[in-house]
């Protein structure tokens, strides 16, 4: 599904000493499965995820998604791709504070209003929220519930890829475990890429990508 070739991402291009977030990175990923990207802070794992998800355009190299080089497409095409094919779970849940849990999920939906509401309810239910919580605003939900709403939002369009950046960072151990269980289940017929520095949550990962200084570390891929 993803083929990453010689991808480099340089910050502070104008400086004499360039900062490589990614440095000649190569990776190929399948269509399905739970992929964990692990590494210490500054290793380039988040940059890799953002480049793959079209939020960032790498300085060099190509990223091919389903045969299409997504580093050279227009901003509008990148938006369309993100909207139709990708789902996002960010480190913070980024729920819209004035919307209910249900509306926060539905806001990302691309089908008709009625269909979105049904789907949102289905995902929220599947993620363990009770019906009475559907109409609560984020301020009335716990951190774990908010993160589950954010996951439901990422899943609402049944995306081919879910990118999750430190999805368990703000959760306690039990909630972190539950979130990973949900993502693992989703990865049975889809691709889920989880970026984390917490190795313990990747016990069920199909592939673990370990990064160091913008490159694959020696242990590289573990399946």
């Amino acid at each position: 599904m993803f083929e990453i070739k010689n991808v480099s991402m340089i910050y502070d291009m104008d400086l004499d000493e360039k900062m490589y977030a990614l440095n000649g990175f190569n990776l190929t990923l399948p269509d399905t499965g739970l992929v964990g990207v692990i590494g210490p802070s500054g290793s380039g794992k988040s940059t890799l995820m953002y480049c793959m998800s079209t939020l960032k355009v790498p300085t060099e190299g190509t990223i091919t998604y389903n045969g299409q080089d997504i580093t050279s497409i227009s901003a509008r095409q990148r938006e369309t791709l993100r909207r139709n094919e990708f789902g996002f779970v960010f480190q913070k849940h980024y729920l819209v504070p004035y919307m209910t849990a249900m509306d926060n999920v539905a806001v990302a939906g691309i089908s008709t209003d009625k269909d979105i509401k049904d789907k949102a309810a289905k995902y929220l239910m599947a993620l363990g929220l009770k019906e009475r919580e559907f109409h609560k605003r984020p301020s009335k939900l716990s951190g774990g519930q908010c993160q589950r709403v954010a996951i439901a939002r990422a899943m609402i369009n049944n995306p081919k890829v879910i990118f999750a950046d430190e999805p368990t960072a703000s959760l306690d151990h039990e909630n972190a475990f539950n979130v990973m269980k949900i993502l693992k289940k989703y990865s049975k017929d889809r691709l889920v890429i989880v970026v984390t520095h917490d190795r313990s949550i990747l016990t069920d990962a199909d592939i673990t990508v370990e990064m160091w200084d913008g490159k694959l570390s020696n242990q590289a891929l573990m399946g």
Binding site: L81, F90, Y94, M99, D103, G109, S111
Partner: protein, 386 residues
């Protein structure tokens, strides 16, 4: 496929914020229109006096020179006065014979006051013999609504609006005493021309005039005088349709329009500043939301479109609510404030309504500045987390 970010979600879920904005805008709409309504009440009320009454009656006071009387040609003042009187009688007879003139009466006049919401105007009306009054009333299309016809000296019949305006009643005094003498109101007239008429009583607060009862086509007294061979000059006093019309344009229409425009501009400036500050605050509190939309695949255009739809919903509801409030207030003010003051009014001023809508459009235009700045600065979440 759903392609738009819903504007209704913000409106529905932020009722307090949105309603504060809607009510503020609606009250502004109402204030702007009501100020216009009250100011233009003066315009409406003065219309009958300045524009309609002079189509039926004119007042002329000519200098001896215009009448062709030269003081030097007479040995004594008595001869001079007699010559003036003779010349006047000739002019009166000539004007009477002019087409469209039903009568000319040389008589004393009394000055009446009539005040609008802004400004007050004085105008003269004739003091006639009780036998002449029915003809004058008939010419002015006035009917006695209440009270009786004047029977003694110093009695006045006045239009009901003039009486209401001056807080006068039958049996009461008409205006302030003149040289210690007061005219007494004996009857209420119903007329389209704010008609007043009375019987003389020695001194008045005005002078003597040739009171010309004319029709609309012959209400330009300069022309009428010219037709009979008299060339009036700037030293003559002629209160006719041209004179009153000019005053109406200059003092009522132009001054009021300037005042209204000035008020409108001040209101727009304050409103624009308030709305801009409120919107900047609204948008600042929603930066994360916009960034989320951008990250999950909505473009800046989508975010801009959503913000604009929110604004149109808020402004649209405000205009509807403002219009409803305005109508209610106008009906109340008209019935309980303006009518008791004897003022005339109308509700609908399309040109002013358009001005207010244009003012709102200008404010929406000004809002494009903070909106564009905000939308152009929308980042994706990856950049916020860096």
């Amino acid at each position: 496929m759903k392609s738009k970010l819903s504007a209704l979600k913000f409106v529905r879920n932020n009722k307090r914020q949105v309603w504060v904005m809607i009510i503020a805008l609606a009250l502004t709409f109402m204030t702007m229109y009501i100020i216009n309504f009250l100011f233009l009440t003066t315009k409406e009320s003065f219309k009958a006096l300045f524009l309609e009454q002079p189509k039926r009656v004119a007042y002329i006071s000519l200098t001896p020179a215009t009448m062709g009387v030269d003081k030097e040609a007479y040995a004594s003042d008595d001869e001079y006065t007699l010559a003036i009187e003779k010349a006047r009688q000739k002019i009166i007879a000539d004007i009477r014979a002019h087409e469209g003139i039903s009568n000319v009466i040389f008589t004393q006049t009394l000055s009446a006051g009539y005040g609008g919401i802004v400004g007050k105007v004085s105008y003269d009306f004739p003091l006639l013999s009780k036998e002449q009054i029915p003809q004058y009333m008939s010419h002015m299309g006035a009917t006695l609504k209440e009270g009786r016809m004047p029977e003694n000296d110093g009695e006045i019949l006045a239009d009901e609006k003039v009486l209401k305006n001056g807080k006068m009643k039958i049996g009461g005094h008409f205006n302030e005493p003149v040289y210690g003498q007061t005219f007494k109101v004996v009857g209420v007239l119903e007329s389209d021309y704010m008609t007043c008429v009375g019987t003389p009583m020695g001194y008045t607060n005005s002078g003597w005039y040739m009171v010309v009862l004319c029709d609309e086509a012959n209400s330009d007294m300069t022309k009428v005088l010219k037709d009979i061979g008299i060339n009036s000059t700037e030293y003559d006093t002629i209160y006719d349709v041209k004179d009153w019309g000019g005053m109406y344009k200059e003092l009522v229409t132009e001054d009021l329009d300037v005042a209204l425009l000035a008020i409108l501009i001040v209101v727009i400036i304050f409103l624009a500043i308030s709305i801009l500050v409120a919107y900047v605050s609204f948008m600042r509190s929603r930066v994360n939301e916009y960034c989320l939309y951008s990250s999950i695949g909505f473009g800046r255009k989508d975010v801009y479109g959503m913000i604009m739809r929110e604004i149109f919903i808020i402004f649209g509801i405000s205009i509807i609510l403002g219009a409803v409030l305005t109508v209610v207030i106008m009906i109340y003010v008209g019935k309980f404030v303006l009518e008791p003051l004897g003022l005339m009014y109308k509700y609908f001023y399309p040109e002013h309504l358009l001005r207010i809508i244009a003012a709102f459009a200008v404010i929406i235009g000004l809002l494009q500045i903070p909106i564009s700045v905000t939308v152009n600065n929308v980042k994706t979440i990856d950049r916020m987390e860096e």
